[in-house]
């Protein structure tokens, strides 16, 4: 459900056409591109971009098809205050598209409304994911690696397989903190690099 509903009557009165959108899934990016292409009268150009994105994503998905799916947890926030991404969030959706198992995936209790929920640390310890992806609200690499260290040294996280195997990865802010839009292919490439390192090296 998009925000900014209260803008509609104001803009409407002023005679400005308005369209509200929310982009929370991979598919919505494709649909939106197509729609904007038609809106701008250049559907061919939109099609080119879409095809490019789709082939990029498809090739990434194809390459991983025969590999065992790692279990992952996507954490958003800082060590002081954090939530976990469900399948309703953009990052959660991408992880799912790539065939990995998001241990927090199904805990959106509201039917597509809650992209991020606070999850029990005990549950995380029990599920013991293979990998942890960290999305912070900072684009500064130094800060991100500091968060990574703090998380790895926190008593509740320290014993996790992902931490001992050194598989806590920080996801780039520009691709994951908000939806990546046309860069969704890049976001997928980054995720694949972490999820299936043996494939991407080839």
């Amino acid at each position: 459900m998009p925000f900014h509903h209260n803008l509609i009557p104001v803009l409407d009165k002023a005679g400005i056409p308005i369209l509200l959108q929310s982009i929370e899934r991979y598919q919505q990016i494709i649909d939106t591109l197509q729609f904007y292409g038609e809106l701008a009268g250049r559907p061919e150009q939109a099609q080119t971009v879409i095809a490019e994105i789709q082939s990029k994503c498809q090739s990434v998905i194809d390459r991983n098809k025969n590999h065992p799916a790692p279990s992952v947890l996507v954490v958003f926030g800082s060590p002081a205050s954090f939530n976990m991404a469900t399948d309703s969030s953009f990052s959660g959706d991408l992880v799912k598209q790539l065939g990995a198992v998001n241990i927090a995936g199904k805990y959106d209790g509201s039917g597509g409304q809650m992209g991020y929920v606070p999850l029990s640390m005990e549950y995380v310890a029990k599920q013991n994911p293979d990998m942890i992806f960290l999305i912070t609200h900072s684009s500064d690499d130094k800060i991100n690696s500091k968060f990574q260290n703090e998380l790895a040294n926190h008593p509740a996280w320290r014993g996790l397989k992902a931490v001992t195997d050194n598989k806590v990865h920080v996801l780039p802010y520009n691709l994951f903190a908000i939806n990546p839009g046309t860069q969704v292919g890049d976001a997928m490439t980054v995720l694949t690099g972490f999820l299936y390192p043996e494939v991407s090296k080839k």
């Binding site: 926030g77 205050s81 029990s120 900072s138 008593p155 509740a156 014993g159």
Partner: protein
């Protein structure tokens, strides 16, 4: 003469005290036993008697036990702070927020989390400093040959509004980063560890000791400044010391738990309904009830929709407010 002064409520108070203690122990044990992952009593015994680095040990010793203790200590501190403040200000609406503690801690913690995310490890320290700074400003503003209760309340309200404006500004201009701070703002024990227990424990100990010494002064202050002075109490000194004690208690609580309201306001009232207004019984009863409530509410909050955790602040508001209305 002393025999004559025996209070008929003595038995009732002893019973309530014992029941409170039992409830707290029950809440602590339940908090350790219950969680997103089920463990048996035998598992818990093993964790304590023969520590092994396995999964159960990790869950019980590193996640659940420290969390339960942080909850109990937070509850004690907030309830005592609220009780003391209601006593010295002689105002039933006083709570730790009234001396600016919540607003100061909130603004400081939020500033660190949003503007200097690299220093996130210092959030508890920042929150504590912010709380004390805010309380200090409120003291200064209300100082007129001693802390003046009415001035203190007004200064507290004004300062809370001022700092609240700062928080709103941060939220509006950094709306993309707010998501990383919301749990803290709602009051949550998510991911609390032994570090946090050690952080709050000294203040709880000082607070409990202080409260044991303070009940005489609080009782005397209830009679009004003139009478208290006539009884040989140094009113200004007593009031000042008590406000500092309350600020330390509340500041240490918000620094580990985030902005957890409600306990400091409601618990003293519930305690008063149970044991009466004599601070000698009111203070320990509040501490017991506060600890029990926070531990029990947090246990419920993290298991009700398991494995999703509702921040305990939200849960407490939803459960506590109707209960308080019922008590009225």
């Amino acid at each position: 003469m002393r025999e004559l002064a025996t209070d008929p409520r003595q038995t009732r108070r002893t019973i309530i005290g014992m029941a409170g203690l039992a409830a707290l122990v029950a809440a602590l044990l339940a908090g350790i036993k219950i969680g997103a992952v089920s463990v048996t009593v035998y598992d818990i015994w093993n964790v304590i008697s023969a520590p092994a680095g396995n999964e159960v040990y990790q869950i019980v010793y590193n996640i659940r036990i420290p969390r339960v203790f942080v909850g109990a200590l937070t509850g004690i501190n907030l309830a005592l702070a609220g009780c003391i403040l209601q006593g010295i200000l002689r105002n039933p609406l006083a709570d730790p927020g009234i001396i600016g503690v919540s607003a100061g801690a909130g603004l400081a913690a939020m500033t660190v989390m949003i503007l200097w995310p690299g220093l996130t490890a210092l959030v508890p320290t920042a929150a504590f400093s912010g709380a004390l700074l805010a309380a200090g400003i409120v003291f200064l503003l209300s100082w007129d040959r001693g802390v003046q209760p009415l001035k203190l309340i007004l200064a507290g309200v004004a300062l809370a509004a001022f700092f609240g404006g700062g928080m709103s500004a941060l939220m509006v201009f950094h709306s993309d980063k707010v998501q990383g701070t919301v749990n803290w703002m709602a009051g949550s024990f998510q991911g609390r560890s032994w570090d946090h227990v050690l952080m709050i424990l000294p203040y709880s100990m000082v607070g409990v000791a202080g409260a044991m010494l303070a009940h005489r002064y609080l009782n005397a202050l209830q009679l009004g400044d003139e009478v208290a002075r006539g009884l040989g109490i140094k009113v200004e000194t007593a009031r000042f010391t008590l406000v500092v004690l309350a600020a330390l208690l509340a500041g240490s609580a918000v620094s580990v738990a985030g902005l957890l309201g409600f306990v400091g306001l409601i618990i003293p009232h519930i305690a008063r309904m149970l044991v009466g207004s004599d601070f000698e019984y009111l203070l320990p009863c509040s501490a017991l009830l506060g600890a029990t409530l926070v531990v029990a509410a947090d246990t419920l909050a993290r298991t009700a929709f398991s494995p999703v955790e509702v921040p305990v602040g939200i849960f407490m508001a939803f459960l506590g407010a109707p209960f308080f209305i019922y008590l009225l």
